[in-house]
Symmetry: C3
Subunit: 340 residues, 3 copies
């Protein structure tokens, strides 16, 4: 038999994780095939009391990190959460910003498609964490809100990633903290099967410099999720407006995108599920100087998820992406993922 | 008393680990001494059900990883295992290939010698993991087999590690996946104390290029382990044949090695064990261009393992290595290791 | 209900951790603000038996590690501890040296001030771990001692960090082990509320070269901690003497420092605590060649710690630092930390 006093630590500390392995095949002329264990995650949480808890998330990206290696080790969450009264929580530390659909919940078994959708990756930009303080409240009537004051983006204005939102993330790693940002969200899930949110963020200077140019930035967006039996529908829109002549000159003052994703999921026997989805996305983001990654895109995805059991998923999908010059990228993706 | 519902996570999730600290003394003219915490490992496993389980292994090599640091963070295993009927298992994800003696089981308390033997390091090449799918079956009569289709090697054909098997490992980190490989093994342990295996692998092009040269590669090998009371014997042989003019021109078309390792282990009191071993190894592997690491070697090892308790080991050994020019390398190694 | 056999692993393996997020504001002309998740730590410990245990500590510094990233992954502890009789323990592996106040116990909730004090960082130099063997004994009368033989410093004698103690740490990462060091400490806590220690270290050559110059190094120091009700007092002194003309020529032959830290802590209700502290520090360490970091400093700190519960802390402090040229650095620091 097991000594229960030796188990006391495990009553207050919890371990979890998730992971996803991706195979990507470029169906175009290049024809490159790549296999990558994109993300391996360890969750380490602790309850200091019923009301004070730590949530932390440690991640190895691309399977191999070190000098000259392609991957990276990241701390994506590490914050202390304080449960107050009236459904109110406060937090301090490093946390995921309350924006979009994937940013806070991105375990691979929770979404369709092998890769995260490019609207949230390039526009939100998911996965996005910052350091600061925040408050959250969920009311009995299904309304809720989130508010956070936190470190902000630090967008490059030169180089191959210039003016790109995603490249402004500093990941709380010896990060410039000259210009904080504020994020707010309201949520409503008072109707069974329906979840709605609207979110906004403001930062006074997304380049964090003392230059004369005013680079204030404003993000607004919204999400809708509807589930009725096997039928599901997800929709998201997000849009940045950034002031400043340099952003305007480079076509980076307005960066936005949205997607619509219908799906249908069948339950097979007691444990298994099979789902099919389609997704139409449109997104426009900064090209930067000499960067062929940015531009204006229409993307069409179709694919299938198979869950042999809850929290384990096998995925396959096909992507057809058309840019502003009608150049086409075609991708076949396969994936294995899990979370616990 | 401990709240049992708070412990539910620990009934399905398991943590383990291993580690090994090495001290290496070059007894030759150079006389360098090095101390290195070679490997620190975290196992993170989870049971999604009685039949569906995750196995994952996260490793920090050389104690320190980052820009300019000598070490590396690696994901060595992360796969979903499905238990089917009739002793059959299937798996998908990133896994250790079923080859040799050390590749799948390399905890320091399970083998003699501070460092892993150079035959398996350079020829197999251990530790070797790939991404793919596999199946395994173990029958009641002691027979078993393993089969896997997985991402393959990507051998460099220029530079200081040209034509070297070990340097072809991509570690599933944004890895080229143009040419998959297939690995097969049969096992037999129907006689008490005896374990035998034979294994093979084939890959159509180990350079993963579109060049005209045919660089197909074929690995064959076998292992034998015998234990009778304190007496143990381990033997391994592994041999690569690689097609292509460039491999032939550089003497890298045939790379092979083998070793024979007798040992004797005493049990001391109830918990402790003391073992002595000798090992003779012969191995030939690609020199590459300007690489002094490759060549043809005879190696003689003797040493001792002391286990103060199961799963903890203190080690000492002496290595005498002679290359094809009769140049001699003499090494003294000390080690501390553990696993759980 | 939970299957107790599935929990057996958790009775022998324990997980813990700590973390600290820092905000640093330079109040001088430069005026830079930085936010950094300075340290995220995972403890992984295991009991092989009542007398044989593993302690290990894995750390991600600066939130992000990899090629081109500011952070680092480190193994700070990984050793096997053997409990012998008469209060005696022996250990082998990678361990924190028994020196100073912070080196072995540096969880953020255990000390005042957001950043670790610069005396211990630059002189001891904390956090300092090496590989080797050690022994520890604690007697019933409050006396205790520690002795360790371990890998030593490897001080650079050129470059921007020349002659700097802190830069001599090799972190057991493929580390030169030509010249071991020996560390000894005596402890006394036989009077309630009082803890005293004296420590010393000797290394025959802190540059680990074969040059003719004798670079033997000798560290001596002591600590005192007194707690009476809410009032606390900590004091530390540490001093290096290093032989050799090159150290003498660069003013690096004597590097030393000390601090005195009075504090007062109130308990609020049942769980919370609030503490205030002041600290005066003086330290002198090697400038090196072209390094503006070294020099002679007087530092004055004042600040506050608030513990909403044991093991969680919010911190704020102000630092005023004057160098030998009367140049002043003023810093405001905010922090969040936890341990478990």
């Amino acid at each position: 038999t097991v000594d229960s006093s030796a188990l006391a630590w495990a009553a207050n500390t919890q371990i979890g994780g998730y992971g996803e392995l991706h195979f990507n095949r470029d169906l175009g002329g290049g024809g490159d095939n790549t296999v990558d264990f994109h993300r391996w995650v360890l969750f380490l949480n602790h309850s200091f009391s019923d009301r004070i808890k730590l949530y932390s998330e440690f991640e190895l990206e691309h399977s191999l990190a070190g000098d000259g290696a392609p991957g990276e080790v990241e701390l994506e969450q590490a914050y202390i959460d304080f449960t107050l009264d009236h459904g109110l929580n406060a937090k301090a530390g490093l946390f995921l910003l309350p924006l979009g659909l994937l940013n806070e919940t991105h375990e691979p078994d929770t979404f369709f498609g092998v890769e995260r959708n490019r609207v949230e990756s390039n526009i939100i930009p998911t996965t996005w964490w910052e350091a600061g303080v925040g408050a959250t409240q969920t009311l009995d009537n299904g309304l809720g809100w989130d508010l956070a004051i936190h470190s902000g983006l630090n967008l490059p204005t030169s180089g191959s990633n210039a003016f790109r939102i995603r490249s402004g993330r500093q990941k709380v790693a010896e990060a410039a903290a000259e210009d904080p940002a504020v994020t707010a969200r309201v949520r409503y899930n008072g109707v069974p099967g329906l979840s709605l949110s609207a979110f906004a963020q403001y930062q006074n200077d997304v380049t964090q410099t003392t230059s004369d140019e005013d680079n204030s930035a404003f993000l607004v967006g919204g999400t809708a999720v509807y589930q009725a039996g096997g039928f599901g529908l997800k929709a998201l829109i997000a849009s940045w407006n950034i002031d400043g002549q340099s952003f305007e000159d480079n076509g980076a003052d307005h960066q936005w995108g949205g997607y619509l994703e219908p799906s249908y999921t069948w339950t097979i026997g007691t444990d298994q599920r099979l789902g099919v989805f389609a997704r139409y996305s449109h997104y426009e983001y900064a090209r930067g100087i000499g960067n062929v990654g940015g531009g204006t895109f229409d993307q069409y995805d179709v694919g299938v998820n198979y869950w042999p059991i809850d929290n384990v998923v096998l995925k396959a999908d096909y992507s057809h992406i058309v840019d502003e010059d009608d150049e086409v990228e075609s991708l076949l993706n396969l994936g294995v993922g899990y979370s616990f």
